[in-house]
């Protein structure tokens, strides 16, 4: 008899595959559509075996026409289906940005609330695998700018398993950003749905001196940085945003009213980015709780380079987080672009 919080070990791709399988088994409105999701089993092998199990009608390989098949996903959702559209990586989603922004995000408003788009779009995101500039972008923050969309980013394997359900149940379009690095990572997955609300952040590690605010691929980096900081006597709290739109201000502000210092860690670029948005919200809502300026650790302001050592130097790293934390604890403003 398994107790309700017994867990099982899974990789990121296995967790998302199980999520899709269970969704399709329990609701025949749900179907999967995307490039190479069927015969090939998914570019990152997330949907391996699903074509045999559900057949070509519900696991649909598409031509390389992002605008058309994302638009078709929107239309099918308007038509009463609950599609899961996989865009191979966020880098290709730019071809479908017109459909995502001008249709998916906006139809409900233009129609005075009559037309909803209950669609889930999954995209791989993030760098670090030497795929060079056009395959390594982290544009999760961009999409967080658009009213009408809901944006989530699983950082734990448990979230890879349990975010899809509520996303499919949502009457509005939800985009799930899956960091490619986590597909191969293993983690604990609870047997039953923990029922954690899609739009709430989670304190992954409690601490009292400093709040590390991050999401997705950089969550493991922050947890490691927090462990290192602990050896120096600095107890860092790690907040996993989970949702980039809406942002769970309450959890962030509650944390900062206890730690009084914050570092936002985002694999996107610093300029005009998500990290700036979070820093602004902290300034607006917790200014008088701050004992140091909010610091940001982001990817260097360059397209990601191919060489591994350069790519690692550009991206947020444990060292850069620990160094920034040390300076924040002294109340220094950390404004350097790369810092």
């Amino acid at each position: 008899m398994s107790t309700d919080n017994e867990t099982v070990q899974m990789t990121g791709r296995e967790a998302m595959r199980e999520a899709m399988r269970q969704a399709m088994l329990s609701d025949d409105r749900v179907f999967l559509m995307g490039e190479d999701v069927g015969a090939y089993g998914g570019c990152f092998a997330v949907s391996a075996g699903m074509l045999d199990e559900f057949g070509p009608s519900r696991v649909r390989d598409t031509p390389l026409s992002e605008s058309a098949f994302v638009g078709a996903g929107i239309g099918a959702a308007m038509g009463g289906m609950r599609p899961i559209v996989e865009i191979m990586t966020v880098n290709f989603s730019l071809l479908a940005l017109d459909q995502i922004m001008n249709n998916a995000a906006t139809l409900r408003h233009m129609s005075g609330g009559q037309v909803g788009v209950p669609l889930v779009i999954r995209m791989t995101t993030g760098g670090g695998r030497q795929l060079a500039a056009q395959h390594s972008h982290s544009l999760d923050g961009w999409y967080g700018h658009i009213p009408g969309l809901k944006i989530v980013a699983p950082g734990t394997i448990d979230d890879f398993r349990w975010m899809l359900g509520p996303a499919l149940a949502d009457p509005d379009p939800v985009i799930i950003f899956e960091n490619g690095g986590l597909y191969g990572a293993t983690g604990e997955v609870s047997q039953t749905d923990p029922g954690f609300p899609l739009n709430r952040a989670s304190v992954r590690r409690a601490g009292r001196d400093l709040s590390l605010i991050t999401f997705g691929g950089t969550l493991p980096t922050c947890l490691e940085a927090a462990d290192q900081l602990a050896t120096h006597g600095v107890e860092a709290e790690v907040i996993d945003l989970r949702s980039l739109r809406p942002i769970d201000d309450e959890t962030i502000i509650d944390s900062i009213s206890r730690t009084h210092r914050a570092i936002v860690v985002d694999e996107g670029w610093k300029s005009v980015g998500l990290s700036g948005e979070i820093a602004a919200r902290i300034m607006e809502q917790a200014f008088y709780e701050l004992d140091a300026p909010v610091a940001r650790v982001c990817t260097a302001e360059i397209p990601l380079p191919y060489p591994h050592h350069l790519e690692l130097a550009a991206m947020p790293s444990v060292e850069r987080i620990v160094d920034t934390a040390a300076r924040v604890m002294q109340g220094e403003a950390v404004a350097a672009a790369v810092a």
Partner: protein, 328 residues
Amino acid sequence: MSTLDADTRSAMLHDMVFVRRFEERCAQLYQQTKIRGFLHLYVGEEAIATGVCRLLRPDDAVVATYREHGHALMKGVSPESVMAEMFGRIDGCSGGRGGSMHLFDAEHRFYGGNAIVAGGLPIAVGLALAEKLAGSDRVTTCFFGEGAMAEGEFHESMNLAALWDLPVLFCCENNRYAMGTALARSEAQTDLALRASGYGMPAWSVDGMDVEAVVDSTERALTSIRAGAGPVFLEFQTYRFRAHSMYDPELYRDKGEVAEWREHDPIHALFDRMVADGQIEPDGLSAIEAEVDAEIERAVDFADASPIEDVATLERHVYAPTLEEVAR
């Protein structure tokens, strides 16, 4: 081409006159600043919306463009709600939020105008995909101008629809000008039906100024689609008698060409044939116009009386209302 019986003809005549007078009244209202923003009028192309929509079932879906008044009215969206929408009032078919370019009516499955050229095509393909997966024989009709055919989304949508045998009726309203660019200056291959056939779907050209030809072709196309044979592409040759929109000085075409096309006015073409067949009195047109004008005036009064939305509900219609908001 079978000629239609008198009742059908007079109904279509009434519809075309209604759309024509509705659009002309909008032009006037625009000048009185009652309608703002962009306004694209359907004057001259009435036969297509009248002919095609007449054959659609209430549960068929329509996706149109920003030149959509005729399609909306012929698909059953009430003139009052269309006019109120252009006045930006809460009784508009989109609650006042969309305006002329974004008329929506879920009940009549009219899925809006789309202000992005070819932006509606992928959606139509999707709506048809849903029907296919649900195993229904409902058709999704997608109206667009010839300008859309230069967009990548046109190519991707046509290919996907053909590839998956989806129940889509692609209706290209070729009015010869994409805003200020003549067809020959934007398309290497100006035989649009020939291009469409390249995707492996039936495609032919139709005289968009002859409403009976429109009806005939649409009937054949719908029969094929409902039988599951996949999408059909119809190119309707037509002409807009007024500017692209209210801001357009029309420098790109000469007045002679416009006069020549006015000779093919779809309303007069049908009216003359009905008079010749003794189905209507030679002065019958003015009676229809008077009746239509009165109906349109009621729509204008309705729109004028409809209140504007309170700013307090500004942030509504972005996401689905939560249970509490619905209860409130």
